[in-house]
């Protein structure tokens, strides 16, 4: 049943349906607009839950894929060796596998919650939700695309809505933050595009023999599978310096070029992740964007960086990753400790959370650097878990700001008295963030550290120090807000409304669910890393 539907395309583009309705709604009808938008985000959620249920049913079977030719032109290139003709074939190629399934769920869930949290938005609802739905299409597309150019298109599609969401609906310095966001990510995208062009031009082709069986026909495409298998295949054109007839192979990708592309990818996705020196833009976004947008940003957009790093950096260049595992791990540790120490001294709660995101993304890097099954699972679970946790935390930030008009730590205190529900949720979210077992943060953290410990003892030991520091800064800020004496100004604030409580409880439920029963994530991820692990063990065996 499900297999007959173009379910992936439906998931990706279903928010557009809401967008279409929104276009015809008068912009004063804020209630209608909100209901429409929230419904529109529910569509992909329901569809993706359906997909998830079905996906687990056919575990290990053929993954879902949808293909259609997007751009196809024949190229007028000189024949070299036994290759006589070329075509460029860019596919509309969507697919889901163990790596993207958890992130797809994360995206659709956080999408709904952020739409609900947008009730605090005070102006121009219509355009807000239009950008919001476009953003959601882009995010879902990024995780479902199976073609590098399609990926790139969706990736760029997230930038523009985000730029406006920050720039129009943000706080005081919103324009500056939006500019910084766009410039940084634009640079990242440019670097990524460069790497993709290199990849497609060399490794991204499929060779078909022409009818006469002597000559070959090459069709270029950006398919992950084609690029990946070509890079891994020792007998593929891309790994042969010279063709059969002794002519220089124009498709040959030298070892140095492998490294160049790997580094380009590392920088491109490192900006998004963000890795240490490239992190300043996201601080601004965390501090200036409206909380519901930060939920999306911190909850999903940062994950695109890690996803890209895994999908392209690690899966396509396992041997480079293997050689640089130590570097990645050190970068991860720097992220963890740097983020933690800086979170310790921030005076503004949103910045504490921003630095804590940096710290938590460091754990993802550790998981990736471990390059074994445990660590990679840990990295993915940490991604999803941090997505939920930071979405929840910013949801709370939004509610606090709506009531108190401040997120400065010195202005807040004793909220547990007037807002017991919100404080309880905040405390639990903080606990999840510092990796309390039974909540989702622990699973990701534990598996990442466990995976890394096998190869890098000392680095793991230092990273564990970060675990302590995490506790320190989380408690400092969370207790500062909820415990202590109540300032007079805050004595009368009311606890959360139902529309705010529902997403909080939902997110909390997911956090607890993953923490108690991690199989919800690990099950679809099974067989997700098989080929990569096989390549890595070959590399280690060599």
């Amino acid at each position: 049943m499900l297999a007959d539907l173009p379910i992936l395309s439906l998931i990706t583009f279903s928010p557009l349906l809401g967008l279409l309705v929104l276009l015809f709604l008068p912009k004063q009808r804020s209630r209608w607009i909100k209901v429409t938008a929230i419904t529109a985000t529910l569509l992909p959620l329901l569809l993706s839950l359906w997909l998830y249920a079905d996906y687990n049913g056919v575990k290990g079977g053929k993954p879902y894929e949808e293909t259609a030719t997007w751009i196809s032109t024949s190229l007028n290139k000189e024949a070299v060796g036994d290759v006589s003709s070329y075509t460029l074939e860019l596919q509309y190629h969507m697919g889901v596998d163990g790596l993207s399934m958890p992130l797809l769920l994360l995206t659709t869930i956080v999408g709904v919650m952020a739409a609900l949290a947008s009730v605090h938005i005070k102006k121009r609802w219509k355009s807000f939700y239009i950008w919001f739905l476009l953003l959601e299409v882009g995010m879902i597309g990024v995780f479902l695309a199976r073609d590098v150019f399609l990926f790139f298109v969706f990736f760029e599609m997230t930038l523009i809505p985000m730029f406006f969401l920050i720039g129009i609906w943000g706080y005081m310095n919103r324009e500056q933050a939006a500019n910084k966001f766009l410039i940084y990510n634009g640079i990242g995208s440019a670097i990524m595009l460069l790497a993709f062009v290199f990849l497609v031009a060399t490794a991204g082709f499929r060779a078909d023999p022409l009818p006469d069986q002597q000559q070959m026909h090459l069709s270029y495409s950006g398919s992950y599978d084609v690029i990946g298998s070509n890079l891994a295949d020792k007998d593929a054109y891309v790994n042969m310096p010279q063709l059969a007839q002794g002519a220089d192979n124009p498709l040959y990708l030298s070892d140095r070029m492998h490294w160049v592309i790997f580094l380009l990818l590392l920088i491109a996705f490192g900006i998004k992740l963000p890795i240490f020196p490239f992190h300043t833009w996201m601080l601004k976004v965390h501090a200036e964007a409206p909380p519901s947008v930060v939920m999306i940003h911190s909850g999903v957009l940062l994950k695109m960086g890690a996803y890209g790093l895994l999908r392209f950096g690690v899966f396509m260049f396992p041997s480079q990753t293997h050689d640089w595992a130590t570097v990645l791990a050190i970068l991860g540790v720097i992220n963890i400790l740097y983020g933690a120490v800086l979170a310790l001294v921030q005076k503004e709660f949103k910045l504490v959370l921003a630095y804590s995101s940096i710290s938590h993304m460091g754990i993802v890097l550790l998981g990736i650097a471990s390059l074994n099954e445990i660590g990679l699972h840990g990295a993915i679970i940490q991604l999803v878990s941090h997505g939920f946790i930071s979405a929840l935390l910013f949801l709370i930030v939004g509610s606090i700001y709506a009531r108190t008009g401040s997120t400065e730590l010195k202005d807040l205190g004793g909220l547990a008295r007037s807002m017991p529900f919100l404080s309880g949720v905040l405390l639990t979210a903080g606990m999840a963030s510092l990796g309390l077992p039974g909540l989702s943060g622990f699973i990701g953290e534990f598996l990442s550290l466990l995976g890394l410990f096998d190869s890098m003892r000392v680095i793991t030991g230092i990273a564990v120090l970060g675990v302590i520091l995490t506790a320190v800064y989380v408690l400092r800020s969370v207790l500062g807000i909820t415990f202590g004496a109540v300032p007079e100004r805050l004595a009368a604030v009311r606890d959360v409304r139902l529309v705010e409580a529902v997403p909080m409880i939902a997110l909390l439920a997911f956090i607890v669910l993953i923490g108690v029963y991690p199989a919800v994530l690990t099950e679809p991820m099974q067989h997700g890393f098989d080929t990569l692990l096989q390549q890595l063990s070959e590399k280690a065996g060599r």
Partner: protein
């Protein structure tokens, strides 16, 4: 062998969990619901634990273990499960018993608090976690509950969250134990990668390490043991991570009894006992455990002498007694450690609940402001006295037997630790005498009218007092019941330590007598020491300046580092970014300035560019 009840042991933690969930959902509807649910669930747990224990009393009873998949990544599986051994059965009973009594007691103590349901839900959550910790069949499951227990402790220490001291204490409790937890986590990581088949369950850990079969290299064993011990140090308040425990007394007093005296702080001792095979495989680790334990015992006992807060005195005595337990374990006697844990759980819970009764009556915690309460609060005074005698190690109270056993072992194994133990025992008796005489004897101070506490509070006191008297008889020099049962006859305790018994009893009595001389008879002036060596008293009052040391050595540098890095982040990292942006802007600015429409400027630029080009071409041959 019949294992009906052991198979159902997993239900024991579920009672309080159910109570917690129900309280979370309906807690606000009624004030009594908390008392009811909390007491009933812990009573149910207690009954089932007792049945399990009785079942395990039969000779040759097998351990029962059951586990399910928890984290499954395809080829690697982490399980979660429970295991009932003699040790866990004993701990189950101790935890549920104390928990039940504290639940009952709190009904009276917390009566006036508006958040009583929240209190009961936290206690239920704690009981759940502690029972889960006890029942866990592998290191990972244990770690999960270990952390949960820490959080519950944190929540309860910070229960009166409006008080800044409570907030600070809660934070400190969590962070300091977290340091220990990080050690434990590393220990688990190390264990995982070295264990055959990456097994983490205690049965296979025991098999791998038992008798030094050399499955795992000696140095690795030592590392694992030390890392696990760091976890235990954090939780059980051993030096140098003891600093959180006295501060944790900011929580409600029943909590101090349940968590910070009887059960949770004993978790560290329990952990070492549970992984005893690892420690036994490494003599170095054992020595570290023994010496840290011994040092903590005397260190905390001396601080206890100079404190004035009734709960803090008891807190330091807890730290000190936990030191004894660790020392016993380090001296290769699991029986000694667990026996003392067992007796200590009862008499220390008794002391704390008694102290709670006193605080409830006089609304102060400073013993200098109390006095003459003995006549007004007879039950409290008598039961507290029994607890104090048990703690001081006076025969035939339970504390005597367990302490005597530890001292006896130390006497045979490491005489130096024996001396330390004896001196610490003297201080223990002395500060308990000081506490008792100042609070219950002498003239009443303060205006408040003190009265005896309600039956819901005195009832648990009486039960605990009975236990504090009789609990010691499960293991005496003539009767090796506990040791035989606990270790399957592996540990033969040296009997006939007549000399040690006499010394131990005498030193306890001497301490009490000194206390009596100073604080009742006044034969020795109270400021005998403070007038001669004020620095010594101040040193003890300030707890050897450990907190100040940490503040100066860790907290401040860390904060300074944070400030420094913050500056770097703002000005260097972000500055570089701004500089890059600024450079682009400047280049653009320069570009527009060059395009000024003056042909001569264009010509000049062209000429310069030409010169550079020529120079480049000309110089190229040189590299």
């Amino acid at each position: 062998m019949d294992t009906t009840f052991s198979q159902a042991a997993w239900l024991i933690p579920l009672f309080p969990l159910a109570a917690f969930l129900l309280l979370l959902a309906f807690g606000r509807s009624s004030r009594m619901i908390g008392v009811l649910l909390g007491s009933v669930s812990s009573l149910a747990g207690f009954v089932l634990s007792l049945l399990v224990l009785i079942e395990h009393m039969t000779k040759g009873q097998h351990d029962y273990q059951y586990a399910v998949k928890w984290i499954d990544t395809g080829s690697i599986v982490f399980k979660a499960g429970f295991e009932v051994t003699n040790l866990t059965a004993l701990m189950l009973v101790v935890v549920t018993a104390v928990s039940f009594l504290v639940n009952v007691y709190s009904a009276g103590y917390m009566k006036g608090d508006e958040r009583i349901s929240v209190f009961y839900s936290y206690v239920a959550l704690f009981t759940f976690s502690m029972l889960g910790l006890v029942l866990a069949d592998n290191m990972l499951t244990l770690y999960v509950f270990w952390e949960l227990v820490g959080v519950c402790s944190f929540l309860l220490v910070g229960f009166w969250f409006s008080k800044p001291e409570a907030r600070a204490a809660a934070k400190k409790a969590f962070i300091v134990t977290r340091i220990g937890d990080a050690g434990l986590l590393l220990g688990i990581l190390l264990l995982y990668w070295y264990m055959p088949d990456h097994a983490l369950d205690f049965v296979r850990i025991g098999n791998a390490f038992e008798g030094g079969t050399g499955v795992i290299a000696a140095s690795v064993t030592t590392w694992i043991a030390i890392l696990i011990f760091i976890g235990a140090v954090g939780k059980s308040g051993q030096f140098p991570l003891h600093v959180w425990l006295p501060d944790a007394m900011e929580g409600p007093t029943p909590i101090s009894a349940l968590i910070h005296a009887a059960t949770m702080v004993a978790a560290g001792v329990y952990l070492v006992a549970r992984t005893f095979d690892i420690f036994q495989a490494s003599q170095t680790a054992m020595d570290i455990v023994a010496y840290i334990g011994g040092f903590t015992a005397i260190f905390a006992a001396t601080i206890g002498v100079a404190q004035n807060d009734i709960k803090r005195i008891l807190a330091y005595s807890t730290v000190s007694q936990l030191g004894y337990m660790m020392m016993a374990l380090g001296l290769n006697s699991m029986t000694g450690g667990i026996f003392h844990l067992f007796t200590h759980a009862f008499f220390k819970a008794l002391l704390f609940l008694g102290a709670g009764s006193v605080i409830h009556a006089v609304h102060t915690q400073n013993i200098q402001e109390m006095g003459g309460l003995g006549s007004k609060m007879k039950i409290t005074a008598w039961t507290f006295g029994i607890g104090a005698l048990a703690l001081s190690g006076i025969p035939p109270f339970s504390g005597f037997w367990s302490k005597d056993m530890i001292l006896n072992i130390a006497y045979h194994e490491k005489p130096a630790l024996f001396v330390i133990g004896v001196v610490a025992a003297f201080f223990t008796a002395f500060y308990m005498a000081r506490l008792f005489f100042l609070v219950f004897m002498g003239k009443p101070k303060g205006e408040r009218h003190a009265h005896e506490s309600p039956p819901s509070m005195t009832g648990p006191l009486i039960v605990l007092a009975v236990l504090a008297v009789v609990a010691g008889f499960v293991q005496t020099p003539w009767n090796d019941t506990l040791g035989n049962w606990l270790t399957d006859g592996a540990e033969q305790e040296n009997g006939g330590g007549g000399l040690v018994m006499v010394i131990s009893a005498a030193i306890g009595l001497l301490g009490l007598y000194m206390g009596w001389l100073v604080f009742v008879k006044g034969m020795i002036s109270r400021d005998f020491v403070s007038s001669r060596a004020p620095w010594l008293v101040r040193l003890l009052e300030r707890k050897y300046y450990i907190d100040e040391l940490y503040e100066a050595a860790i907290v401040r540098p860390l904060r300074a580092l944070g400030g420094l890095l913050n500056g770097i982040d703002d000005y260097v990292v972000d500055g570089l970014v701004r500089a890059a942006g600024g450079a682009a802007f400047l280049i653009g600015r320069g570009g527009t300035r060059m395009q000024n429409g003056q042909v001569q400027t264009y010509g000049l630029i062209t000429a310069f560019a030409l010169v550079i080009l020529i120079a480049a071409v000309a110089l190229r041959r040189f590299w």
